[in-house]
Amino acid sequence: MSTQVIQAQGLTKRYKGRTAVDGVSFTVGQGEVFGLLGPNGAGKTTTILMLLGLTEASSGTVSVLGRDPRRSPLAVKREVGYMPDAVGFYDYLSARENLAYTAKLMEIDAGERNARIDAALARVGLSSEADRRVAGFSRGMRQRLGLAEIVLKGARIAILDEPTSGLDPQAAEDFLGLIDSLRRDGVTVLLSSHMLDHMQRICDRVALFHQGRIALMGTVPELARQVLGGQSAVVVEARGKDIAAVLRGIPGIASVEPQGEQRWRLRAERDVRPDIARALVNANAELLRLDDEPISLDMIYNRFFQSMTQGGRRHAA
């Protein structure tokens, strides 16, 4: 992540009487997978369109691969592949014909066009469907064809808008694998989604959009520290007397909440697992399970929006 390939500074987009994107700043490094998170209408797609020069920013600056997409959109669009939300193709043309049209627009030489189209289709696993009309394609196949277009372009940056939404689990899984293979090729990937588990698995860093602003940005553990207050959660299952009291007695534990007969969830400032094991053994209890609760983006997201709405209500009151 030595060089920054995308830099946005104070990016703002105002529509009539409504601010869709409000002073967004972020950078994406070479080879990074960067995720834009947030509910629908939070400004993710508008931000993406401004990066491509497809929408004029009201204020702020963007630099993509060292170029201003407003001033030299063609140069930017030559190196950046974009797959819009629910990508569409010409239904009456075959997969190959669809790609041939964009290949001509990309100015790929006629001599190597067919070979590159074949290679791109093979990469996304559509070789056997190459000459079928797109009309019969499933959503997952269309998404893969969209990715084939990015592969065909040989893009240095791939921008994917909601690539996995509306896919069945298997198709989503396949698609994440394809994105990962792009990353291995050194392609910088910027994707937007509200599928949190997908984002957590594939993104190096994420930015959380809320009402046109980036509310949080960083790696998932960093976000966890910010939102969950640096506390980690531990789940303990044990049999014995007064276990709750024993657990509460351990220094560094902030809260103990029972989750059933023999199960408690603890919050702590630091890693308290060795202390818990020791204390329970000393208290003659049977330790059945001691587990660090994995930090999930889901948790961070829900906690964040809970605090947002509570804060909002307090504000309104």
Binding site: R71, T102, K104, L105
Partner: protein
């Protein structure tokens, strides 16, 4: 802000793709057959009628285009009626179709400007029309050679080719109207209805309305009323109003081009006829001089409508 790169980058690619789409679309095939069949019906009657006058008429080939036998209208009148239909059929979903297929943002993320997309689509429509019209013209001339047994003169060829050019300009007007509607309205059905509505309004209703409006603007003076004739001012207003409609401009152009004896398109004064040999044909250059304003008017309308469409398209958001 100055933007880099050529606005026509990729236009040729868009043009060829759209042209291929048009030429193999079922829609175009239906429209072509509609024209060919009606034209055949119109010409059939005409051939029977003018075969007898082949020897006496110096412009017998042009009569193919203008002669009519009840109940069919003449070939040129039919074209004036059907060509807008084809043009609208080619253009009404040019832009909103890309949106509804969700191909617009994918297309514009390729290294082209919107200019290339719009111009490519417009030129593809115009080329399709030109190809169809030329084919139709060749069919008519071929049938004329075959059935009349006389070759067309050079001037007849020139006049009928100019007629072709005029028809193309007229078609261009309706193509740009349809494309403008395809930008204005998100639904292709609305766009088609509005374009067809405008076409019906301007070719059927407006000629009737123009007379009434002229009466209101310039009521006939008592002298004219006494003679039972409309006043000269009323007539001038009526003609000016009628010429707002592209179909009126087209009709006048056809008249002057295909009927060489046409001397004027407005009211005629006796003083203007001094020394004129009534009924004798004008040379081509003089006929051209008569319809020059009509021709320029049609071309200007195409440019104006296209510019308007271009401006609206540039302001349109990519996600809609």
């Amino acid at each position: 802000m100055q933007r880099e790169g050529s606005p026509v980058q990729g236009m040729g690619v868009v043009l060829l793709k759209e042209l291929a789409d048009h030429l193999r679309s079922g829609r175009m095939r239906v429209l072509e057959w509609l024209i060919i069949l009606t034209a055949a019906a119109a010409l059939y009657g005409v051939f029977q009628q003018i075969r007898n006058t082949t020897a006496s008429d110096p412009f017998v080939f042009l009569r193919l285009f203008t002669a009519a036998r009840e109940p069919m209208p003449s070939f040129s009148a039919l074209l004036g009626f059907l060509v807008p239909l084809v043009a609208i059929g080619l253009g009404f979903d040019a832009i909103n179709g890309e949106y509804s297929r969700r191909t617009m943002s994918r297309l514009l993320s390729q290294p082209i400007y919107r200019d290339a997309l719009l111009m490519g689509k417009f030129l593809a429509g115009l080329t399709t029309l030109a190809v169809s019209l030329l084919a139709l013209w060749l069919l008519v001339v071929g049938a004329g050679l075959f059935l009349l047994g006389v070759p067309p003169s050079g001037e007849e060829i020139a006049r009928s080719l100019l007629f072709l050019l005029l028809t193309l300009a007229y078609a261009g007007v309706w193509l740009s109207v349809a494309m403008l509607c395809s930008i204005l309205f998100q639904s292709a059905a609305t766009s088609a209805l509005v374009s067809l509505g405008l076409w019906l309004f301007f070719s059927l209703l407006w000629p009737m309305l123009a007379g009434a409006i002229a009466q209101v603007i310039a009521p006939p003076d008592p002298l004219a009323l006494m003679l039972g004739q409309p006043g000269i001012e009323t007539l001038q207003w009526q003609q000016a109003l009628e010429r707002i409609s592209p179909s009126q401009l087209f009709g006048e152009g056809v008249l002057a081009l295909l009927v060489p004896s046409t001397r004027t398109l407005g009211p005629v004064f006796l003083s203007q006829l001094q020394g004129a040999v009534i009924g004798s044909p004008l040379p081509l250059s003089q006929s051209l001089a008569i319809i020059w304003p009509q021709m320029i008017g049609l071309i200007a309308a195409v440019i104006l409508l296209f510019t308007l469409a271009y401006m609206l398209f540039q302001r349109r958001e990519v996600r809609a």
